[in-house]
Each structure stands twice: as C-alpha cells, then as structure tokens.
C-alpha cells in the first residue's frame, strides 16, 4: 500500500549566480513498512527531496511544481500550521551528523522531553518513563544515566542512537533518514542500519533512506530510486536493479562499487561531471556522460519506462520495450 507518493516534484533555488534547478520532476512511491533508498551522487537532489517532504527547505528555495501525497493529502497544499502538526508526529527526520543535529547545550533527556511535550499532554512523570523506554529501545546503555548526559559526552554512534530515539518520540509513520551513517565509523554504520531495520520491523515504520552508498542500499532497502541531476533515472525492487541495472547511469554506479574479489583496476569511474543545475537541460541530463548516447537523447527528456512489475528506468534505450 502506498503511504507516501512524490509526483513530478520541481524545486529551484535563487542564488546570486542565477536560478539553480535542484529537482526537475522527481517521482517515487514509498510503500507502508518498506525501507526505500534514495541514492545518487552529491548534488543530485536527494537531500532536497527529503527536506521538501518535511517542508523545511531554505528560504531561497521554491517548489514550482508537483505534489507530495501522504495519506491522501497533498503536503504541499497544507498551511504551515497543518504541516506543523505532521512534522515529528507523523513524519520525522534523522540527520547526517548527529553531533550537529543535537543541541549541544541541552541534555539528551531534555531534548526528547521537549519533543514529547510538543506532541502529547502527558504529565512529566509519564514523559520521563517514555523517554527512558525510548532510550532503551534504541539500544543505549543505562538509559537512566543517559537522561542527564550532554551530546558531547556520547560517541558518534550513541549520538545517532539518541537522535533516532528523538525522532521516534512521537511515534511517526515515516522516518526520513538523510545519510544517517555517513559521519560514523564503518562498524558503527552497520549497527545503526541494523537498528533502523529492527525499528522498521517491530514498529511498522516506513523509512526513506537517503544515501550515496549503494552498498548500504543493497543491505538495508527493499526498494530504491536512483537520482541523477534532480530526476529519478531508475527505480524498483533492490534485487531487480542490482541484478540488472537498466539505466546507463545506474550501471556505471554499480560498476564503480567494490565487490568481494574485485581488484582496484576493475573499478570503473564514470567520466565527466554532474551538471550544476544552472544550465538549461532539454534532453536527458546524463547524455553528455553516457556511452550509449544517441542524437535524440539531447532533445527528448525520457520519462520512466516500466520494464517489469517493480522496475522502471528513464532511458530512451528502453522506449521500444514498453508495452502500450
């Protein structure tokens, strides 16, 4: 069942250098109980997508087109007051660097307590109990002591667990995790991803996992959308896409992924640069870097073609394979 659906989302930023088109028509669906990966290089628009859903874009950003349907309502049409009721309560967010996402001057317990108080009228004693349970549920040792600890007294992994506890406080249905492990050591990364999977299973929470790391997607997600220059170029079930990527860009990304047994020389790097978003793009944004580029690619912007039940790719190579 579709819980959250992003349709044709366009976002642009006004900068001193001109208008930057960060999202140029993003489409994807998040099913209830899934972990969905949004993957792509820096600047492809994956974080902007996450912020757009929360409606927390910077002031110089503007959504020019599109819809974000959550439980049959378009989030983009809600008033700020209505959106405020959704943030934290129904959709929550986890950030890349927990050291900067937790307020350095307040205790962990105090910060979770603030969130609880914002969302329920429960008395203080009950909130304290709920905080302790939350801290325990994210695997922090000695929750009672954690209450009075400041962020800088925790390790990076513990900080991220605290951040997750904070995002869980109001029992949201969706968690948007923006590069939740990038700032952490490799061994800690695995633990945090493990925690996310456990929470998703046990609490039936749906997760949008924003990452640049295909390895994390393979381990953690059921579905994935590959972003390039503000558009989804390929999406579907993780198993299907990893077995047979159909867009030249996803193919390139997968080829650049180190695999067991591969030597350094086997890794391929896609030549060329990601477009900045300042220039006008008429056709496929990947065309200048694509090894299969055709003349039409520079003129026609390819839509997402359905290749199988749970597999779509936006590449003119697949135009003729589409039925109907």
């Amino acid at each position: 069942m579709t819980l959250l659906k992003v349709e044709n989302l366009h976002v642009q930023f006004t900068t001193p250098f001109g208008i930057v088109r960060a999202l140029r028509g993003i489409d994807f669906e998040l099913d209830k109980g899934d972990i969905m990966g949004l993957v792509g290089e820096t600047g492809c628009g994956k974080s902007v997508t996450g912020r757009s859903i929360m409606r927390l874009l910077d002031e110089n950003a503007e959504v020019t087109e599109g819809r974000i349907i959550f439980n049959k309502t378009d989030l983009l049409r809600l008033s700020e007051r209505e959106m405020h009721a959704i943030r934290g309560d129904r959709i929550a967010m986890i950030f890349q660097d927990p050291a900067t996402a937790l307020n350095p001057l307040f205790t962990i317990g105090g910060q979770i307590n603030d969130v609880l108080r914002a969302h329920s009228p429960a008395p203080a004693a009950q909130r304290r109990k709920a905080t302790l349970e939350l801290l325990a549920s994210v695997g922090l040792p000695d929750p009672a002591q954690m209450m009075d600890v400041y962020p800088h007294q925790l390790s990076g992994g513990q900080q991220q667990r605290a951040m997750i506890a904070l995002s869980l406080a109001a029992e949201p249905e969706v968690i948007i995790a923006d590069e939740p492990t990038t700032a952490l050591d490799v061994t800690i990364q695995a633990q945090i991803l493990d925690l996310l999977r456990t929470l998703q299973r046990e609490r039936a929470i749906s997760v949008i996992l924003i990452t640049h790391d295909l390895g994390i997607v393979a381990e953690t997600c059921q579905k994935v959308a590959v972003l390039y220059a503000g558009r989804v170029v390929e999406q579907g079930a993780v198993a299907a896409i990893f077995a047979g990527p159909q867009h030249p860009y996803s193919r390139g990304l997968l080829a650049a992924l180190p695999r067991p047994g591969s030597r350094g020389t086997d890794l391929k790097v896609i030549p060329g640069n990601v477009p900045s978003g300042l220039e006008r793009i008429d056709g496929c944004a990947f065309a200048p870097r694509c090894e299969f580029v055709m003349e039409r690619c520079h003129r026609l912007q390819p839509p997402l073609f359905s290749l199988a039940a749970e597999h779509q790719a936006a590449c003119l190579l697949h135009e003729d394979r589409v039925h109907g």
Partner: protein
C-alpha cells in the same frame, strides 16, 4: 576537572596580560616621552622641579632599575601623586572610580536589557520591518559621538522638557539636607543600605541621562552581535532538527536558540563595559560627573601625566577582571567546557 584546568589557564593568561600591561604603560610613561621628568612635572615646570622629579623617578638609573621601582610601587598599591594638585592619586581614585563604575554598570545594564531582546527578535525575523528598523537604530547607536549625544540629551531632557537634571551625581538639596553616607562610593547602594530613599531617588534621577547617553554605543553592538549570533544559530542543523521534530516556533526561538545565541552574546557584556568606559571618559565632563573620566580630561588639560598613567593602569585592571569573570561565566554555562 575540565573547568578547573580552564580556570587555571584563564587565570594564567590574565596574569600574563596584566604583566604586559605594566610593561606597556611603563614604556608609554618612561620610554616614549623625550623628557619624562618634564612631562611628569606638568605645564611650564621650573627647572629645579624637573630635577627633583628626575631624582624621584630615578631617571638617571638604567631602565631595568626604573621598572623595578615602578612595579614595586604599584605592588604596594602606591600610584604616586599628582604634580599638579600634589594630592595622592590613590585618594583621588578611591573617590572617582566608584562614580564611574556606577555609571558604566548602569549603561551596561541598559545595553543588555534593551539590546538582547531586540537583537533576538531581529535575528528571528530577518528581513522584517522590525529587523530593518533595528539594524538602522544599531548603526545609529554606534555612529553618534557620545559627547555630542550628551549635549543633545541635555538640550532635550533638561532645557526643553525639564525632566532630568543637567549634571552631577546628586542635587544640592540632597547634599545639604539628606547626605548619602559614603560606604562603597556607589550612591545607589549607599543610599539604599542606609534607607535614605529620598537621596536614592535623587541619585537615580541624576544617573539616568548620562547612563542612557553612554549606553548608545553598547546598545548598538549588543543588538548587532545578538542578531548576528541568532541568525547563525538559526541556520544550525539542530534547529532544523527541532523543526523536523515538530517543536513550536516559540520553544525553538526562546528556549533552544536563545540559549545557544546568548553564549557568544555574553562577550558583548565585556565590550559594552569597555565602550561605556570610553564613553565615560568623553562625557563625564559634560555631565559634571565626578568620575575618573572627568579626572583624566582635567589631567589632560593640566598636563598631569602621572594621573593619566595611573588611571589607564587601574581602569585596565578592572577591565581585565571583568573579562575574566565573563569568560568564567561562559564556561560555567557551557556543558562542553563544564563537563567532559
């Protein structure tokens, strides 16, 4: 533990700086002037006076020896005497320093009470009419010469409206009929302690105008720094995280962001103090305020160099202590320094 080590480092630094200040004032008083003795002797000294002072200061001895005497005198708290009035500078300062500090502290308080909330609101609502108005007021505050502002203020509040007295610390009536028993030299404190409320009101009445004038510059920088620090804090990830968690704007602004913004804004207390002192040196004469500022301006007119150097030294020492206190307070407020 972290705090203790911070405390010792900070104390060490203050001590070092104070020694540096001693050396620098020594250089200013003995090395820079072409003839220190003539300078110490004041305007148009007689030759035998100059000789007497030369001997007294030990100017014939090497600089290192002079410095030892200079520091030795200061360590026993002897600031020397004015060659103009022949009075001990210690006695004078005991009289004048509290007057200036009372004025300066009042100005700093006005700056904080007015400046911090204004700066927070301006930072919280960037590009609003309030933000623009505030920024303009802040620039005006730091651009007006205090001695000119003092004249304008006297013109409006004394000449035109007649609301506030022209100058002085208390009125003649107060000195004659209900004199303040000097204890600390801070009239508001002394009058309050002795329950002399008539005099207290009178002193407050006299304090308002000069304190307001002195606070113009500090209010300006307090607004600017609080606003900038608020803007900076509001762009931090933890504020976005708080919004994403559904906290209300009120809680975010006045609980979370304010605490983060107030920490760097505390440095403005030190700056406000410094600029109020600077202001006091320029406007005390205009307000006939019997403080160190008036003392120094008169010393400048009378070429009374020992007074200038002594006041520089003592006021700087006070300023160093104020900065030390502020740093310690900041450290105590910040869990990252307080705890490890």
């Amino acid at each position: 533990m972290a705090f203790l080590s911070f405390l010792f480092r900070r104390l060490g630094l203050s001590l070092f700086v104070f020694v540096g200040v001693l050396i620098l004032t020594f250089i200013v008083s003995r090395v820079i002037p072409s003839n220190p003795a003539a300078l110490y002797a004041g305007a148009r000294p007689r030759p035998e006076q100059v000789q007497e002072i030369e001997k007294k200061l030990g100017l014939d001895k090497p600089l290192s020896e002079q410095f030892r005497v200079y520091v030795g005198d200061l360590l026993v708290g002897n600031l020397g005497e004015s060659y103009h009035s022949r009075r001990s500078i210690n006695t004078d300062l005991r009289l004048f320093l509290p007057a200036t500090l009372e004025l300066v502290i009042a100005a700093v308080l006005i700056a904080l009470v007015l400046g911090i909330p204004t700066g927070v609101l301006a930072g919280a609502y960037p590009r609003s009419p309030f933000d623009y108005a505030t920024r303009f007021a802040a620039v005006a505050g730091v651009s007006a010469p205090s001695f000119w502002l003092a004249l304008i203020a006297q013109f409006i509040f004394f000449s035109q409206l007649g609301w506030l007295p022209l100058g002085g610390r208390v009125s003649r009536d107060a000195t004659l009929f209900y004199p303040i028993a000097a204890q600390t030299g801070f009239y508001l404190i002394d009058a309050a302690v002795s329950g002399n409320w008539k005099a207290w009101l009178d002193a407050l009445h006299h304090l308002i105008l000069p304190a307001l004038v002195l606070s113009a510059y500090p209010v300006g920088i307090t607004i600017r720094m609080t606003q900038a620090s608020m803007l900076e804090v509001l762009s931090e990830t933890y504020i976005t995280a708080a919004r994403a968690a559904g906290l209300s704007r009120g809680v975010i602004l006045f609980k979370l962001a304010l605490k983060n913004a107030i920490m760097p804004a505390l440095t403005v207390v030190g700056l406000s103090f410094a600029y109020s002192i600077t202001g006091a040196f320029l406007v005390e004469t205009i307000f006939s305020w019997p403080g160190v500022g008036k003392y120094v301006t008169e010393a400048v007119l009378n070429v009374d160099f020992p007074v200038i150097i002594a006041v520089t030294l003592v006021v700087t020492l006070v300023y160093i202590l104020v900065n030390l206190l502020i740093d310690l307070m900041q450290a105590l407020l910040d869990p990252r320094v307080r705890l490890v």
